[in-house]
């Protein structure tokens, strides 16, 4: 693959700060991680849901105008998703995604993504 347009880096667009994410997490209130599903189902489900994220977010840590979703805890990821769903955080793309997921699915995909870079 040749280097080019898609590889351009934009420093100023390098995602949300941790402070923003934590602030949003607190604002989103309590979030329950469900632990009662079988691990295999969780992994398959997590991978299938994460496939949706991979259409826009790089899974190799590369970062640019679209923030990375690696290196966050499941709680942080889940709370960010809930904040998008409630419009507390603006982004119509993330809102459409978050609205399509149940709380349990958000927990599943968050666990899966958080485990990716371990």
């Amino acid at each position: 693959m040749s280097k080019g347009i898609g590889d351009r880096k934009y420093r100023d667009g390098a995602g949300l700060s941790m402070r923003t994410i934590i602030a949003v997490s607190i604002a989103a209130g309590s979030f329950i991680i469900l632990a009662d599903r079988s691990q295999a189902a969780d992994r398959d489900g997590g991978a299938q849901l994460a496939a949706m994220c991979a259409s826009c977010h790089r899974l190799d840590g590369g970062d640019g105008g679209i923030p990375t979703i690696l290196g966050m805890s499941p709680e942080m990821l889940a709370r960010a998703m809930l904040a998008y769903r409630s419009r507390e955080r603006p982004s119509h793309i993330m809102r459409a995604i978050a609205l399509s997921l149940s709380d349990e699915e958000i927990a599943t995909v968050a666990r899966y993504l958080a485990a990716l870079n371990k």
Binding site: M1, K3, I5, R8, D44, A47, A51, I66
Partner: protein
């Protein structure tokens, strides 16, 4: 039956532990076989996600071209904002890291009784399932005066590559003050905002290098996608440069005169310095010849598995499908291909399944630093696919928001081509 290797599933999707994949194990006769027809966005994504989700499936991807040039962002190339090489991607990663058997050939026919796929060069490949993703074909019968040979004089540039280069060369050699005529197709067609994005970005190019030139869009329709956003941008960035004539104004497009480089409508003949004719479209030729397309010219599919409603065991994804409310976009092709791959993995390798997630996200450039986006979620309903939520950028957005969206678009491109053609390395 559950696959013993299922536990690798997720980690492979991201390519994190791909080393564990290869070399693919022997005993291939015991493995289920999937043949993917077409290595464009739909086909490449389906092959990659099948490889990632089921190690017990042997995947063959058949694609005639050694490389794939993306249509998305090719309008930026036409405006001189990026190279075509930067939009061109190979199949090495899919072959080497994902263990996919990539064959550079065309599929001539599929035999659903013998369950074989016949290659143009002769061999027949046995299959348990086929995924067909041949993109679009042009319906030249529906546009008088324009055919395959005409594309060498008046390009469509609706498949990216030599056609796009030809149009760029013509724009570059056009004298200042010329009229660029773009003929926009009837619905449904590949990427609804793209003809108008093309007009916007060519106007950007003219504004800098040929400021006396004009753009005339002769449309087969009376309205178009995100019209308010485009009209607003044309007024702000390119005032007086772009004229759009709907079918109700011209009476419709009648004939293309290739020699004269002119377009005849019911009311008037328009002569062009450079012309771009985007013809009416239908599902890829292969589907027309193999009983996969219906009278509409498109392929009806199951909204959950993307299995053809006409030929069991054969799945169709991407532009070739008629998939309810889903538009024909690369994002949709990628989204459908994932749903299809997971359905096949479930059927052939017993992986667990969550309900399919179907989305479209489109980034559209109105100028290099002015982009808008659209996000739509879909859901299977009663045999078809319906829109659930639809969010679009607004006309009054700040320049800063638009600039940020343009940056996001760049970042999307990088992630999306990796998601489709694989991560070369982590």
């Amino acid at each position: 039956m559950k696959s013993p290797t299922r536990r690798e599933f997720g980690y492979l999707t991201g390519g994190m532990t791909l080393a564990a994949l290869g070399p693919r194990l022997a005993a291939s006769e015991a493995k289920a076989k999937v043949v993917v027809v077409g290595g464009g966005i739909g086909g490449a994504t389906a092959a990659k996600y099948l490889a990632a989700s089921a190690r017990t499936i042997e995947i063959t991807l058949v694609e005639p071209n050694p490389n794939y040039t993306t249509c998305f962002f090719s309008n930026l190339y036409l405006a001189g904002l990026c190279s075509l090489e930067s939009l061109t991607h190979g199949y090495k990663t899919l072959a080497q890291r994902y263990g996919i058997n990539v064959i550079h050939d065309s599929v001539a026919a599929v035999d659903p009784v013998a369950r074989t796929v016949g290659l143009k060069s002769g061999p027949k490949l046995p299959y348990d399932r086929v995924v067909v993703a041949p993109g679009i074909a042009f319906n030249y019968d529906a546009l008088a005066g324009y055919d395959e040979a005409a594309t060498q004089v008046i390009p469509h540039a609706w498949n990216a590559g030599p056609q796009t280069q030809l149009l760029r060369r013509q724009l570059e050699s056009m004298e200042d003050g010329g009229v660029f005529v773009l003929v926009a197709p009837p619905n449904p067609f590949r990427c609804p905002p793209a003809p108008y994005e093309r007009a916007s970005l060519i106007a950007y190019y003219f504004k800098q290098y040929k400021p006396h030139s004009r753009i005339l869009i002769l449309d087969a329709k009376d309205s178009f996608n995100a019209q308010d956003l485009f009209l607003d941008a044309w007024e702000r960035h390119y005032r007086g440069m772009i004229e759009w004539l709907p079918a109700q104004f011209t009476g419709g497009i009648k004939t293309i005169d290739v020699k004269e480089r002119s377009v005849k409508t019911a009311s008037e003949t328009f002569k062009a310095a450079v012309a771009n004719v985007i013809p009416p479209q239908m599902a890829g030729q292969f589907t027309q010849q193999n009983g996969l397309a219906d009278k509409s010219g498109w392929c009806p599919v199951d909204p959950i598995t993307f299995e053809s409603k006409l030929q069991p065991g054969i799945h169709v994804v991407g532009d070739a499908t008629s998939a309810g409310d889903m538009p024909k976009s690369a994002f949709v092709a990628n989204s459908q291909a994932k749903a299809c791959a997971f359905a096949i993995a479930e059927a052939l390798a017993g992986s667990e399944r969550v309900p399919p997630r179907l989305f479209n996200t489109c980034y559209t450039h109105l100028g290099p630093d002015d982009a808008v986006s659209n996000a739509v979620s879909f859901k299977p309903v009663a045999g078809t696919i319906k829109i659930v939520d639809n969010f679009v950028s607004q006309v009054q957005e700040s320049a800063e928001t638009r600039h940020r969206t343009a940056r996001e678009a760049q970042s999307w491109y990088a992630a999306f081509v990796r998601d489709t053609f694989g991560y070369a390395a982590f």
